[in-house]
Symmetry: D2
Amino acid sequence: MQLGLIGLGKMGGNMATRLREKGHDVIGFDYNPEVRDVDSLAELVQRLEAPRIVWLMVPAGEPTAATIRELSGLLEAGDLIIEGGNSHYVDDRKRADELKELGIHYVDAGVSGGVWGRQNGYGIMVGGAPEDIERAKPIFDALTPDSGGGYVHAGGVGAGHFVKMVHNGIEYGMMQAFAEGYELMAASDIVDDVPGTFDSWREGTVVRSWLLDLLVRALEEDPELAGLRGYAQDSGEGRWTVQAAVDHAVPAPVITAALFARFASRQEDSPAMKVIAALRNQFGGHAVTRATEDQA
Amino acid sequence: MQLGLIGLGKMGGNMATRLREKGHDVIGFDYNPEVRDVDSLAELVQRLEAPRIVWLMVPAGEPTAATIRELSGLLEAGDLIIEGGNSHYVDDRKRADELKELGIHYVDAGVSGGVWGRQNGYGIMVGGAPEDIERAKPIFDALTPDSGGGYVHAGGVGAGHFVKMVHNGIEYGMMQAFAEGYELMAASDIVDDVPGTFDSWREGTVVRSWLLDLLVRALEEDPELAGLRGYAQDSGEGRWTVQAAVDHAVPAPVITAALFARFASRQEDSPAMKVIAALRNQFGGHAVTRATEDQA
Amino acid sequence: MQLGLIGLGKMGGNMATRLREKGHDVIGFDYNPEVRDVDSLAELVQRLEAPRIVWLMVPAGEPTAATIRELSGLLEAGDLIIEGGNSHYVDDRKRADELKELGIHYVDAGVSGGVWGRQNGYGIMVGGAPEDIERAKPIFDALTPDSGGGYVHAGGVGAGHFVKMVHNGIEYGMMQAFAEGYELMAASDIVDDVPGTFDSWREGTVVRSWLLDLLVRALEEDPELAGLRGYAQDSGEGRWTVQAAVDHAVPAPVITAALFARFASRQEDSPAMKVIAALRNQFGGHAVTRATEDQA
Amino acid sequence: MQLGLIGLGKMGGNMATRLREKGHDVIGFDYNPEVRDVDSLAELVQRLEAPRIVWLMVPAGEPTAATIRELSGLLEAGDLIIEGGNSHYVDDRKRADELKELGIHYVDAGVSGGVWGRQNGYGIMVGGAPEDIERAKPIFDALTPDSGGGYVHAGGVGAGHFVKMVHNGIEYGMMQAFAEGYELMAASDIVDDVPGTFDSWREGTVVRSWLLDLLVRALEEDPELAGLRGYAQDSGEGRWTVQAAVDHAVPAPVITAALFARFASRQEDSPAMKVIAALRNQFGGHAVTRATEDQA
């Protein structure tokens, strides 16, 4: 089927290739003239037959918001926007409500799979009205693995990005679990072969997983991770997961601890620990006037 | 080769079967007369040709300690004990030192794989002197998967149980990460298909893992886990991991949070939270005499 | 000076009393006709001389928002609203911006002190423009303790509620620290006199504090807290603190753990721990088809 | 009454002074010849009238153990050792059992109060048999504050050090709560006066405490803590608290988080976070062979 695809970077570009290989007619737009098929959103909309489907793979936040604002002035009632970037689920819901007044339909899609997706297929998690999902189903089918699986219609608008967010939160926790295990083995004087230990776990154990495969690979390249700094960015999705947990009164100590470990990894020095140091200095010290008075 | 195997329960019995299938001569002892080949440890030792190899698969703690005490009076210098149960790595080191004075060699082996091990092979992590490991290598080879992998000589005595312990600690963290993600999705009003979401993650995502496979299976059987109580035992190994982290000054917030969540799950009521409730009651209350005096 | 005070509940009513005792002219409005001086916001505004000062002590959220909306139609340029309830600092900033367009000034005030405040004075933390703060200073002076202290102009609009929020976050952490210590002593078989231990800490120790005083008092009344359930509500401010920490990339493990402990305390059963139980069941079990295939 | 005091450092020396001021006959021994009254433990024992009381204020661990070993050869049945250092409660119990065979009595005493103790009195938490405690009561009375309080007989042998350990664990949690609150206020662009905010909390708020007094004092000296590094040692007692919590299956997330924050503060770089960085690198990367195969 025909599809407009906005954002032809590493992710969007690969998706376009896979969709075309599966026989879909993709018309792509990007800010980079070298990769695009049309020179403007207006031209994109003009080229698509109504009712149109436009898929966005644009950086989250203002770029996505701006693109949707512009599109909302170009599209017609009955058209469908699929937001495949990393929007916050709360924003999906607001946008869908606004677009609904113009008769424009909205589906959100969480996409995972990175650089291997083009060949192996992507994990696709979608949220939206059943009839909108149904309409775009051939595209989802083309993107997901040939062997089946990798697809869920998780719920109404926002559900796709919500579950993708939770997926990333879980990922944070799993990564941190491996990281703590690594540090403990490396810190002990008892384990001589940390990389070999992780490698042995790839067969027959409870922790076998794709993340373990990646860790083994990283340790093959650099057995003591000597070439790396313990510095980790966090995507917005880890933060959103914690905030959603707080909003829903769900205890999420593991995911939160993993997020906080990343925060701490980026600090040159910890203001909080300066306070601890300051208090410890005070203990040792010279009389603290007001405190001493209270103390009798 | 010839091997004495003490403990022929679900785990030890399956291991004996696999070893025999691979051509090893296993003589087994158990407290259960119906499954054993010999009627006493003394007879077991007598039947084995020196230098002997005896593998223990006995419950951790006193049963293992008592068996080793008795064995140490029966074995001769040059014999080798392989402790394949769930001993604490600290105990391995003490025992090995004591047995060394009698000339008895000691290797510790962490074994994973559960009921699938007999068919698929076990993950085996061993600690001990290279020459002792070398001697028992045919047995390890028979136990590990036919396709290779699943084996590590992690370090000196204790290292096998140490890394098995860390494996279990990581497992705690990973399980809790999935658990928190589940609860968050179930708590939100936005996700209609929680089991389907987990299932979709089995392809193409970062969190794909054996634990995810098991979770999908559990949700197929009981999509809302309605038949279960949120009550989780902890094996000693999770506790030991946290204590080892504390001993080595390694921050392990994720593994620890997972352990504490299990502790809390088993409480009818939380004494700590009674304190929170009591303090909140006091806030609202009638004048607190001494406090008011300090307060001016 | 003259002041309109909206909300004459336990908190607002006591504040009105204290302000009048200090010579201020307080005109009060409340939904409850028995306690109010005027029968409507319109009448309140009419009775106050311009430029007016109106202090709100209304429940947070919609009641406060609605009151401010109505007031914004009644007040004139140059008037000053002091929001003394528990508003979120983000809302303060939005409101102040909206009111600014009408020329209405806005100050936010975090108020602590509970039922003892009327006699002992309140802790007052304010945010706003220096000239607005200066104008209302006689009111702040009347509310804070006679002996001085208990007052800070923390920053621009929102800063008062921000620091009050952080205060409450710290309070969560401190309470939970005492709670964990209590539970550990109660769980051990070694401590015979838990209440006496807390009482002894009121002199000469590092943990002496008003919260300790309250805890000792609670244990005097009920030494084993037998009359309480381990169930704790959370005010919005604990949640906001965690969310602010996440927004600012500040690791806040202690405050967050304290919040999550409250969440967990209110659950009849834990969905997350059902997942742990489900996974543990799967370990023991019958062959898991797809997993076994991967496993070789 | 007469008392032998071993260890005349800052703590022991001040205690000797206070005890003498209260009329007790203190005979002191120290490795430093300049401060001691007798030149050996043997002479100390000789100088004391039986049944003797000997108080130890020696560094924890081997120094305390060695002193007790030597004393056990010098003292007689009926004599009493009071261990006032920072021994682990588990060691107290072992020692008391060993000394009991010699007829030597043992009491453990947790002492808090630091440099202010001499003037203000110490907090004293003791464990032991009632008759032993009774016998030493005049000494405890002299050490504790003149105004009363600051004393508890917490239970049998070990209970004194157990509750002192828990006290320190709670202290860790409280300090970290303040530290997180500080960092959050410092990180926000909304709070202009962080030191003033803490100072305002000393009156009328829930968090008022001796630790807050100390923090205000530290911020008076160095408002941005610019002269400090965020580096914090941990005493053994924080670790022991966490290990006791794990041993007793008590969830202690706040105390543990505070301990882990100290561990992390001392790391030049975090091995765990190197793992996170390594995994993140792998995501972006080139095909991961074995993982890709599994993946279909």
